[in-house]
Amino acid sequence: MEESGSDPLPVVKPFFSRAGGKIFIIWLVMTIIGVLIGAYAPHHLLPTLLSTEGTKVWETIVLFTILAAPVAAFVYAVGLYSLLGWRARGFGNSDEPPPDGPSLRGDAPMTAVWLGVSAVLVIVLLVWGLGEYNAAQTSHPDTLQVDVTGQQWLWTFSYPGAGNVETRSLVLPINRPVQFNVTSEDVTHGFWPAALGVQVDANPNVVTVIGSTPDKLGTFTVRCSQLCGLYHSFMYASGAVVTPQKFAAWLQTQGVPAPQAAQAADVKASTS
């Protein structure tokens, strides 16, 4: 790297000087670190995701982090190198400025490349995002309907397929699409079973809909994601993804007659 130093009118050098090689190395190292973080960190940070939608959230985070890593790494690499290679040494506390740098007022090819790369990245993000979003909109014939009602400060779940039995906890059979029909009795709440990777607000006088397909057994917590007053912090319900047999058994403990419970729980079993 040459100091533009004592020359009062430095000649503008080609855009990529030898600094380019060092910046490339810093960029490569940072990109690899970023990609590794993107590939491994979300898995450890996220709660155990129990649905196909949850898996897609995880995939999206991994993909976006990996795509963002080279871009962020480039900015960081130039920033870091500017401090290592281009810093005017000895001027940190000086009242006199260092000699001027080169008069580089713009670079059309670089700007075009930058625009092109960011446009391509945005298109990739959009194709991915819109594709996943549309996939989430398709409906399935044997969907389990669950009515969800929020009120200050608790959740009520009701299963229309099982005689509208009302419960305080959300139990779902595995591998069967479920549709939540969400509403509120008072203010706006946010129905958020985080482990299912979906959420939708509960609004008074309106039914909002969100779907999910649980694909792993486990327990989770339904929280409220919209500030809803004094005890917003305590507005949660427990949830579980269970086998169809256990789901039928659980419906019976909630007061559903055995044949009806088996029928409500076994739709999936008969189709698969």
């Binding site: 533009s4 009118l9 940070l45 939608e53 959230v57 985070i61 976006f64 963002a68 962020a72 900015v75 130039v78 920033g79 500017s82 281009w86 005017a88 001027f91 506390n93 000086s94 006199e96 260092p98 000699p99 001027d100 740098g101 008069s103 580089l104 007022r105 713009g106 670079d107 670089m110 700007t111 930058w114 625009l115 945005v122 993000l125 959009l126 995002g129 996943e132 979003y133 203010v187 946010g190 958020w192 985080a194 990777g197 979906v198 939708v200 609004n203 008074p204 006088n205 909002t208 969100i210 917590t221 929280r223 994601s225 919209q226 007053g229 004094l230 005890y231 917003h232 912090s233 949660y236």
Partner: protein
């Protein structure tokens, strides 16, 4: 402004007649306070008498009291003196104008309705610091509450009230943190103007926003706003009387920001010096104008929503009451039609300030000046079309989720151009590592993280996980604190010598920098961790599974407060004991560095004629001004402005 016809001497020394200023002589912040309390009290008594026993009583009483306070305070300050005299048929005399501009009043003019843009800028700077102090203290209380899962430090109600007011105080402070101090103090000098286009509106915008602060803090004594800073209806329609005071604050704040925005646009479009073409304006001026244009667009939406909120609460309309045909979605839409442009109203001016810093301390011209202006404009244009990305999970208009995802992600293209501009500017520069430049690097680091996490949230399926949880909180703190506020601090350290006339002690400043830089990462990585784990926002008590992430955040937050306190000490120490600053300590080229420090009342003793843009580092022209412009560090030579020889430069 009458001062453009100044007599050939320093206006500060003009002897004024005994009657100059008229009513202004008797008015200051104290009479404003007395007037506000008096009219507020009258309003309280009258409305209390009339409305006793009615359904809407307490809400109406609070609203009328607050209207009384705001009007009384501004009457007492003198905000309405000139318009009223004008309506009565006799305008302000020249001496009155000079008095209102603060001539011969020394430091007391900072407590008065003063039309000098430099006084208004300094007043804004102090107000912003006070607001950051209040908002920061509230943040520390929240973090202290969250250090254990079920702390008894705050009650659930106080916690909700603090969450809301922390949010709104910080939003108000960040909206005015650059447009208040720097757009008022620096921008007119940058373009070669002698004041803002409307000096009285300028002073009004400051004292009006001051009058909005007591109602905001009064909410704590009126039951507390328990609906968050977004005050989603219908929860906010049911909130205690504090919500009326909160709505009044917002309405008054909107008035202040809108008139200040109009003032900025008119000043930039009409008050530029000879030769200061639009293509030669410093980038900060462009950023101020784009931000101001955006605020003139967005702020009225907030005015309408909060007016409707007051009528819902006070007179029984039902815009937002579902049981009577209204809908909370109306509130959410109207709020975010303001709310998303608002983040760019906050962001664009500080980024412009930071680009000035980057160019000066890299000793290089700004990279891609015109592309950057295009990027600012594109960000502003797109930002009015993205509001519903705050509503992906509300269930409103699911078919629009795709289009809003598209517009939101498109914003990352012009935002990327701004990054290109910064790294292009430091590329092969000769980096002068003085204090302001440190914050430019911190901005780069933080804003990339804020931007990348924003892309996760713009993706509907991912937002279905993250919406309403601490990940969002961490994301916008990275952009607004780590990005916008740090860029504003870069601007503050850069312009501090011009504003205060003193140099900062950079050893203290750099200590503050390192504490702040590291504490931001600890605090908000802690919040990202909470967010990944699925902790909702705005909860006073939480599941113990989130304990470690919260402890990390709280420790980081304490260090962040410490860092900002050290920075505050650095500023106060600089202001009181700093070395006197030369007129151009950074050897920068824009016009604000060509005028003496302290800046004389009319800024320019000789009208400048501009021949190039202010970024000619490493270029043959020694300067961007015609050669007869006086050296600002020499003794001031009073000159008739009409004596100015016109040399060089293009006429607009």
């Amino acid at each position: 402004m009458t001062t453009t016809d100044a007599p050939p001497m320093l206006l500060e020394d003009t002897p004024l007649g005994k009657g100059a200023g008229g009513l202004y002589r008797r008015q200051n912040a104290l009479t404003g306070l007395v007037g506000g309390v008096f009219l507020g009290f009258i309003g309280w008594v009258v409305s209390h008498r009339l409305l006793q026993g009615s359904n809407w009583g307490s809400d109406m009483v609070v609203t009328v009291t607050m209207v009384g306070w705001v009007l009384g305070f501004n009457i007492g300050m003198g905000t309405f003196n000139a318009p009223i005299r004008w309506m009565l048929g006799h305008d302000q005399s020249y001496e009155d104008e000079l008095y209102a501009a603060g001539v011969t009043q020394g430091k007391s003019r900072y407590w008065k309705f003063c039309t000098d843009h430099k006084v208004v800028g300094t007043q804004y700077l102090i107000l912003v610091m006070v607001l950051f102090g209040v908002g920061g203290t509230l943040a520390m209380m929240m973090r202290t509450q969250l250090i254990t899962p079920h702390s008894s430090f705050l009650s659930a109600n106080s916690y909700n009230a603090i969450v809301s007011i922390h949010g709104m105080v910080m939003i108000i402070a960040t909206i005015i943190m650059v447009t208040g101090p720097f757009t008022n103090f620096i921008m007119p000098i940058m373009i070669g103007a002698k004041d803002m286009a409307f000096p009285r509106l300028n002073a009004m915008s400051f004292w009006v926003v001051v009058s909005a602060v007591p109602p905001l803090l009064a909410t704590f004594f009126l039951g507390g706003v328990d609906a968050g800073w977004t005050t989603y209806a219908p929860l906010s329609v049911q909130a205690p009387a504090a919500m009326d005071a909160f709505s009044m604050t917002m309405i008054v704040f909107v008035i202040s920001v809108t008139i200040s925005g109009i003032n900025t646009i008119v000043t930039i479009l009409t008050m530029r010096a000879k030769g200061m073409t639009l293509g030669r304006m410093p980038i900060f001026t462009w950023a101020s104008m784009v931000g101001a244009a955006l605020s003139v667009y967005a702020m009225p939406a907030l005015l309408i929503t909060f007016t409707a909120m007051i009528t819902d609460r006070v007179t029984g309309t039902s815009f937002f009451v579902a049981a009577q045909g209204g809908t909370g979605w109306l509130w959410e839409n109207a709020f975010w039609i303001f709310g998303h442009p608002e983040v760019y109203i906050i962001l664009i001016p500080p980024v412009g300030a930071m680009l000035e810093v980057a160019s000066t301390f890299a000793r290089k011209p700004l990279f891609g000046y015109k592309v950057t202006i295009a990027a600012f404009t594109a960000v502003a244009g797109l930002s009015v079309m993205v509001w519903a990305h705050h509503m992906f999970t509300t269930g409103w208009a699911p078919d629009l989720a795709g289009p809003f995802m598209v517009t939101t992600e498109l914003i990352s293209i012009p935002t990327g151009i701004i990054f290109l501009c910064i790294i292009g500017t430091i590329w092969r520069g000769s980096i002068w590592t003085r204090l302001p430049m440190f914050f430019v690097y911190l901005f780069l680091w933080d804003f990339i993280i804020g931007g990348v996490t924003g892309i996760y949230l713009s993706d509907v399926p991912a937002d279905n996980f993250f919406h309403g949880d601490m990940f969002v909180t961490a994301h916008f703190h990275y952009t607004l604190l780590g990005g916008a506020m740090i860029a504003a601090v870069a601007g503050l350290c850069y312009w501090f010598p011009k504003i205060s006339g003193k140099m900062l002690n950079e050893r203290i400043g750099k200590t503050a920098f390192w504490i702040i830089a590291i504490a931001i990462q600890i605090t908000y990585f802690g919040q990202f961790w909470e967010g990944f784990q699925g902790m909702p926002r705005r909860v006073a008590f939480y599941d113990p599974i989130f304990l470690h992430a919260n402890q990390m955040t709280t420790v980081g937050a304490y260090f962040l407060m410490l860092g900002f306190l050290v920075l505050l000490y650095c500023l106060i120490d600089g202001w009181r004991h700093g070395k006197p600053a030369p007129a151009n300590p950074w050897h920068a080229k824009s016009l604000e560095w060509k005028v003496p420090t302290p800046v004389p009342l009319v800024n320019f003793l000789v009208d400048p004629v501009v021949t190039t843009d202010p970024y000619g580092y490493g270029e043959p022209e020694p300067d961007n001004l015609s050669t007869d412009f006086p050296d600002p560090d020499r003794e001031l030579v009073p000159t008739l402005s009409s004596d100015r020889p016109v040399t060089g430069g293009e006429v607009l």
